[in-house]
């Protein structure tokens, strides 16, 4: 089933508002041989990313194979990446070339600090407008969802939760695993969306369910597949779809109340120590070749030349909840604080 142009437009409606952009969007940059040559001379690119580790590794490997360069891959949670870059920049260390975050709120503060360079790779020019920041300071090069799910060996489909509030059923006490917004950008998106949709009472009740509190949104699907917990309260769809593809006994649930959308944005750092390699890598991230790899690893894509696997639930059948990056940026601190108070960590 092909992802329709219309569905994509709907999906991305939420990312567009971010740029209180005075600068107009820069013209798309076409990749030239000069850039490739200069990039190869630089030899390396440092990529800090919140992507799923396996996805990021695949992307790095294929970039390395294609250009004979090295990708210094620093994979962590979006909130950790944000912390790392903040710490390094405040100590005058500019090590990162390209950063990828699953909390677009970060782009707001980075933009404010003047750390980003505008860049629109021509490969993304045909994507929906919403995937590109109005001032060109970030590119939403993929997106995923945060969904609950369960281990089909431990839970029968009839008993499984169908909605977010089903997770509050006492029968799931001690059987849930959940990721943390202090680490994961995806979960920050979720916490923002659901605390507004269902109120903080939802989380207060969830905290009484004895959840296994892990950090990364990529972890609940792994723990659930292991059978450590029967139900995942929240999971990155990207990792879940990859594991399901490998035969893991996971079933995803798309609650009718709405499903938080996680825009995963990449930025080119203004002070990138290897500017040409960084630009080449941005081109690569937007290329159909890379988008195909992303999709093979379970990520949704704006590249409408690609077809999603038939086994995936099509976006058109999901009620999507979008977050405005400006809102995320404004409330992130408060969300994390409140969450820690409720869950104890």
């Amino acid at each position: 089933m092909s992802i329709s142009r219309r569905a994509v437009l709907t999906a991305t409606a939420g990312f567009a508002v971010a740029g209180s952009a005075k600068a107009a969007r820069p013209d798309p940059t076409v990749l030239t041989q000069d850039v490739i040559t200069a990039a190869k001379k630089e030899g390396t690119i440092a990529w800090y990313t919140a992507d799923d580790l396996v996805l990021a590794t695949q992307v790095s490997k294929s970039f390395e194979a294609k250009y004979g360069m090295t990708v210094q891959l620093e994979r962590s949670g979006a909130e950790r990446i944000y912390q790392r870059i903040g710490q390094e920049y405040s100590s005058d260390i500019s090590a990162v070339d390209v950063a990828t975050t699953s909390d677009l709120g970060h782009t707001v503060s980075w933009r404010k600090s003047g750390w980003l360079a505008p860049f629109v790779p021509a490969e993304a020019a045909h994507w929906t407008d919403a995937a590109i920041a109005p001032d060109g300071l970030y590119l939403v090069d993929k997106f995923t969802l945060v969904v609950p799910g369960y281990n089909s060996r431990l839970v029968k489909a009839a008993d499984a939760p169908k909605t977010w509030t089903d997770l509050l059923d006492p029968k799931w006490k001690g059987k849930l695993v959940k990721a943390h917004p202090g680490y994961s950008g995806a979960i920050t998106n979720e916490t923002y969306a659901l605390s507004h949709l269902l109120g903080w009472e939802f989380y207060e009740k969830l905290a009484k369910q004895d959840v296994l509190q892990v950090q990364s949104a990529t972890d609940p699907p792994m723990r659930t597949a292991q059978g450590e917990r029967a139900v995942m309260a929240d999971a990155a769809e990207v990792t879940s779809l990859r594991l399901i593809g490998q035969g893991a006994p996971l079933v995803l649930v798309y609650p009718g109340e709405g499903v938080p959308v996680v825009g995963v944005g990449s930025v080119l750092m203004l002070k990138a120590p290897r500017p040409n390699a960084a630009r080449l890598f941005m081109h690569y991230l937007a290329s159909s070749e890379c988008q195909k790899i992303n999709m093979e690893q379970g990520s949704r894509s704006f590249d409408n030349t690609l077809t999603e696997p038939a086994s995936w639930t099509p976006l058109s059948k999901i009620k999507l909840l979008y977050n405005d990056p400006a809102d995320l940026a404004r409330e992130a601190e408060e969300i994390k604080k409140r969450y820690s108070q409720i869950f104890g960590v």
Partner: protein, 570 residues
């Protein structure tokens, strides 16, 4: 001034002794190592974000969820760990040191191998073993008893679980201390008591216990301090269970934007408790210490266990099985499975984890960083502790006491506190070292200096000064006799110290976690990153690599020094 100098020079044969310069250098360096970061720590705890003096950080410690609750949890856990560790280690030490239990030497050697496994890797191994549902032990429990799918025997994500894992890795320290004391204990005192009519129990109570008590107390304290200041194990086990200990709380304050002032204030009580405990130990030992001169009173008389020696051996083997063999086996198992709870079969075995770990090119640079900084720390640390021990043990220079104090002072600074202090001290001019391997080197040197120095000092004490004196009389300077007389004699001790610092450095996590950047990442931090991402299989692979590297390095260093195992100094 110049006049008096001239007179001094005329008064003596002009023989410039380099050791005075060295003393000055060593003193300044040690002071710099400790005082600069701790000074910054104090300043930060007493100022607010804008740099103005303020009590607000300490006032904030009254907040239950920020400080009080984690702090009390930490103390409770540490107390349980120390008790449990002593409860296991002391009987075990008695068995191998004072009874005729079979294979005593082998047992002792095997217990030493548990030093190879860093506690945080042990914690991950125990997640694989005793997570309530996927843990192997619980799976077997359900298989054997036919219990329901969510019933479990163990839950490692709990305070009890943390206590158990920490005690598993603390008990060898208590064991070594107690066993060595029992070895050295002159049995003629016990014999004298027996001759004078003291019964077995009486002798045990009035002679043996008082003589072992200092070691026991020291062991208890080490276990307590370790449990109180550890970061890795609680981060891996307590956070999933939904509670903080103090170290994880301090670390969480570094979420961007880092609340360094608050973190500094939170670190102060940890520092204070450590200092108090160490002072308390000194006080107690000062009163209870027994000089065991003339310890070479022949072989100690071994208690004959009769038939009981077989159950005793079994009990000792069981402890080893649980603390050493089981965790390492489960790591090997997990390293080869895609889903770590799967049964082991031809279908489930995969190289995915190995491939994943080694396709991350930062694994290679991380390993390189680890080896570089480990080797330099070990070399500088061993050389430095030889130097200082030679100055203090021979009372070579005025102020040697102060040197000894400076070298042991960092023992009172928990890793995470040092991490906070170094982070504050070296992210700003004049020494902007954050983002370089230097800051890690400083951290490791500071942390490993006290045990390294103590080890070398003990070695010097066991060395008759006559040899050095002879060399000095024959005209050699202090440095020359150090190099050509002392060094060869102390080769094995130096190698042991080198290994000690190396192992300590490459497994350090609590300070390191705050001090690395992407470029200066070391293997312990990479393992921690993988844990946050839930990559248990990848951790198993890296953990095994780390332990293999450790083992190879230890064997090589000992071969070079031409000694056997890394035996504790006698």
């Amino acid at each position: 001034m110049s006049l008096s100098l001239n007179r001094l020079a005329r008064g003596r044969t002009i023989h410039f002794d380099l050791s005075l310069v060295l003393l000055g250098f060593a003193g300044v360096f040690l002071a710099f190592l400790v005082l600069l970061p701790l000074g910054w720590l104090a300043v930060f705890s007493l100022t607010n974000e804008s740099g103005a003096a303020s009590w607000s950080n300490f006032a904030a410690l009254g907040d239950a969820s920020l400080f009080l609750h984690p702090f009390l949890t930490t103390l409770g856990i540490a107390l349980c760990v120390a008790t449990l560790a002593c409860g296991v280690a002391v009987p075990l030490a008695w068995l191998v040191a004072r009874t005729n239990v079979p294979f005593r030497r082998t047992l002792r050697g095997l217990i030493m191998t548990s030093f190879i496994t860093p506690p945080f890797i042990g914690a991950v191994a125990w997640v694989l073993l005793a997570a309530p549902n996927s843990g192997l032990l619980n799976q077997y429990y359900r298989l054997i008893t036919g219990a329901g799918p969510f019933d479990h025997l163990f839950n490692i994500f709990s305070a009890e679980g943390i206590v158990f894992v920490m005690a598993s890795y603390a008990f060898p320290y208590v064991f070594v201390l107690t066993a060595n004391t029992l070895d050295r204990m002159p049995y003629d005192l016990e014999e004298a008591s027996a001759i004078l009519g003291g019964g077995r129990w009486h002798t045990f109570r009035r002679v043996t216990v008082p003589m072992v008590l200092p070691a026991l107390l020291a062991g208890f304290l080490i276990a307590f301090l370790q449990a109180m200041t550890q970061f890795g194990t609680p981060a891996i086990l307590a956070l999933p269970a939904g509670f903080h200990v103090l170290t994880t709380k301090i670390w969480s304050l570094f979420q961007y934007p880092p609340k360094t002032h608050l973190a500094a204030a939170c670190a102060m009580p940890l520092l204070l408790v450590t200092i108090l405990l160490l002072r308390g130990e000194k006080y107690l030992l000062g009163r209870r210490g027994f000089t065991m001169i003339g310890g070479k009173a022949g072989t100690p008389q071994l208690t004959t266990l009769g038939l009981w020696r077989w159950p005793a051996l079994l009990a000792a083997l069981f402890v080893l099985f649980v603390t050493v063999l089981l965790p390492n086996l489960v790591l090997i198992r997990a390293s080869m499975l895609r889903t770590v709870s799967d049964p082991w079969s031809l279908q489930t075995i995969t190289w995915d984890n190995v491939r994943l770990v080694f396709s991350l090119n930062n694994t290679v640079s991380t390993l390189r960083n680890t080896l570089i900084v480990g080797t330099i720390s070990a070399t500088v640390g061993a050389a430095f502790s030889v130097l200082i021990a030679s100055l203090t043990a021979r009372r070579a220079v005025p102020g040697h006491r102060f040197l000894g104090f400076l070298a042991t002072a960092p023992a009172a600074v928990p890793g995470i506190v040092l991490g906070v202090a170094l982070f504050i001290g070296y992210t700003r001019p004049p020494f902007q070292l954050y983002g370089t391997l230097w800051i890690l080197l400083l951290a490791f040197l500071t942390i490993e200096m006290p045990p390294a120095y103590q080890q070398m000092q003990a070695a010097f004490r066991g060395l008759n000064p006559e040899l050095e004196d002879a060399s000095r009389i024959l005209g050699a300077g202090r440095l020359k006799s150090l190099v050509s007389i002392v060094a060869p004699l102390l080769k094995s001790s130096v190698a042991a110290t080198w290994c000690f610092v190396f192992i300590g450095a490459i497994r350090e996590l609590s300070a390191t976690i705050l001090l690395t950047t992407s470029k200066t990442k070391v293997i312990s931090v990479l393992i921690y990153d993988l844990n946050e991402g839930g990559q248990l299989g990848g951790i198993a692979v890296l953990g095994l690599v780390l332990m293999a590297v450790t083992t190879v390095v230890v064997i090589a260093a000992n071969r070079l020094a031409n000694v056997g195992a890394m035996a504790p100094e006698r």
